[in-house]
Symmetry: C2
Subunit: 117 residues, 2 copies
Amino acid sequence: MNDVICLCKSISPDEMQIIKAELPDENTSNQMAEFFKVFGDATRLKILYFLSRHELCVADLSLLVGMQQSAVSHQLKILKLNRLVKYRKDGVTVYYALDDNHIESIFAIARQHLMEQ
Amino acid sequence: MNDVICLCKSISPDEMQIIKAELPDENTSNQMAEFFKVFGDATRLKILYFLSRHELCVADLSLLVGMQQSAVSHQLKILKLNRLVKYRKDGVTVYYALDDNHIESIFAIARQHLMEQ
DNA sequence: ATAATATATGAACACATATTCATATATTGG
DNA sequence: CCAATATATGAATATGTGTTCATATATTAT
């Protein structure tokens, strides 16, 4: 990409160059976007909420969120890939649980933002 | 929706009822999902990064993110609607700036999560 | 008023995503 | 081995999303 020359009065060309140079690389932006995307779905948020209360099997999660077992499995796969949940197998049953201590704090911040009108 | 009866051994029907009853209502889940969705796009994250460094006009943002002015305007609209950026007009130019003190902390948490392998 | 400029907006398109249905896989008990 | 059960997976579909192009709006200077 070419050098950037600023067009407006609020910032100098030099400052432009600096903040452009310090932009995290493409991978970081994309990884971060992927991470937040996981929280950007009400069904997944509900699953995370329930798991924050108790370890649960897929069937019970399906009852709780009121969605088909298949849908829940698909979403659990996404949560698993993003290391937000872990699981253990007991016979034919699979119990899922939260696997991230950042979840609570990230929720707290979102709640605060939404509370402030 | 009908009463929930748990199917697995890990939790009792009573506990199921309780965590189900305490699930935040549909509105809350949706609002929260919408909020996170905003962060789930690399272009918007870049815009937020640049604004975290300096107030900027649309044209400069467009140069910095390497995307058409129109695309940037569309994304700024979304950020505006979610009260993440504010703006001031100076003649025909519009300067945008961050309008949320939670952004930094939410980024910090995401970064931490992604750092941990 | 007119021209020039910065930004905003709407339509169109390509692409991603969530859900469902049908079915495969894996585990246990008989 | 076979049947029953819990979960996972793939295809299909409907809906959502981001970008571009074209154009509208708004502001300033001449």
